[in-house]
Amino acid sequence: MVQPVERRPNFGGDEQTTTRERILTAARVLFSEHGYDATSVRMVARACGLTNPAVHYHFRTKRDLYDALLADPLNYAYDGKSGDRIAIAASMEHQFYQWVENIDFARLLLRQQVGGDPQSLQYLRDSEAAYIDDISAAMEAAFGREAPRRAAQLAFTLLSGAFWDAILTYGENAATVMRDDYYRQRIRGFIDAAIRVAGRNRP
């Protein structure tokens, strides 16, 4: 059964949900569960208690709906103002686990990306750029100007590799494995390794 509201990822704002957002949330869940091809606008309409024309009013085609999802990246702006190492590490861990909580969507994206879908690749590039901007700004505040962008770049590649590998290796159990303490310790270790690069002098 589809429960779009319960599974709604945290996009940051907690203001009143608009119809458009409700449609997007339902679409995200349905695309994730059934894949792009097997999801219809009718299914999206039914899941959020709207009529077909109501959905079409906001999104002309199924493709528009999908494109809108990709234009609306999971929001993971760095929120730690203190700018110390522990706050940065905690924020990076939190961001990683936001993706774990949205693993069905991540799996859909990965499938599209490996298939070379330009829209989903652009989404990945935009997410990466936003991640590097946020994390390197925080690192720079904490460690000065040594190598924050490099460190953030390394973190992104390392963590996306770990995340993709978990999806491929553990399939349906990937989120459970990644929530395990043992795995969480490893992710913390990866994050520490990347942060260390930011604090280190390199020729």
Binding site: G115, L158, L159, T169, V197
Partner: protein
């Protein structure tokens, strides 16, 4: 790849038969890897290797059978398992990383197909991928263990594997068919190795004089 010595639609026994079967498998690997299993048709495979649909069906009862036969094709040169006799140097780690990149580039169509199939829930693809990674993991761990404790070596092994996985999967996504060539370049390998060294927190042995 499309120019075949001759088209055999009949049922030749022996060498010719094996060669045609191998040609079909190569064409199928490339089509599945490019378009995914669902979007590949037997007609596309036939066109890729210059045969008729009927000829493909002579060798394989269905598209699914072609995919399954692909999983028993041995990849080009495995990840070499060299014994870890000397304490690990950065140069030796680079050789290990290069061996993995060689394996991934020599078999890049098959690797992409494995990823796509694993994402579609194909258990065989997932198991084969895990086997490859187990070989890689063992080799890395043995070498890292020469300069680190068990826990450190195990963590560092996972770190190197995760980084290389992130970089190479991204390469697959961004460059598609060209990935084989790109990952063969010295720049790609240098950058990968430099990133690993930056992330690692181990004391390497000094290079032998």
């Amino acid at each position: 790849m499309t120019s075949a010595p001759q088209s055999r639609n009949g049922g030749p026994e022996g060498r010719g038969r094996d060669e045609t079967r191998a040609r079909i498998l190569i064409a199928a690997r490339d089509c599945f890897s490019r378009h995914g299993f669902d979007r590949t048709t037997v007609k596309m495979i036939a066109a890729e290797c210059g045969l008729t649909d009927a000829a493909i069906y002579y060798y394989f009862p269905s598209k699914r059978h072609v995919l399954e036969a692909l999983w028993s094709v041995r990849p080009n040169r495995g990840v070499r398992g060299t014994p870890a006799t000397e304490p690990l140097t950065p140069e030796r780690l680079k050789q290990l990383n290069d061996a993995v990149i060689d394996f991934l580039t020599d078999n890049h169509q098959l690797m992409r197909l494995m990823i796509r199939s694993a994402l579609d829930g194909d258990e065989v693809a997932r198991a084969l991928r895990s086997d490859n990674r187990a070989t890689w993991r063992r080799a890395l761990y043995e070498h890292l263990r020469t300069i680190a404790t068990e826990d450190e070596a195990s963590f560092t092994t996972e770190l190197v594997m995760a980084y290389i996985t992130g970089a190479t999967m991204r390469g697959h996504m961004e460059t598609g068919e060209a990935f084989g060539e790109i990952a063969r370049s010295a720049e790609f390998r240098e950058e990968l190795h430099r990133a690993c060294l930056e992330l690692l927190d181990v004391s390497f042995a000094s290079p032998a004089v």
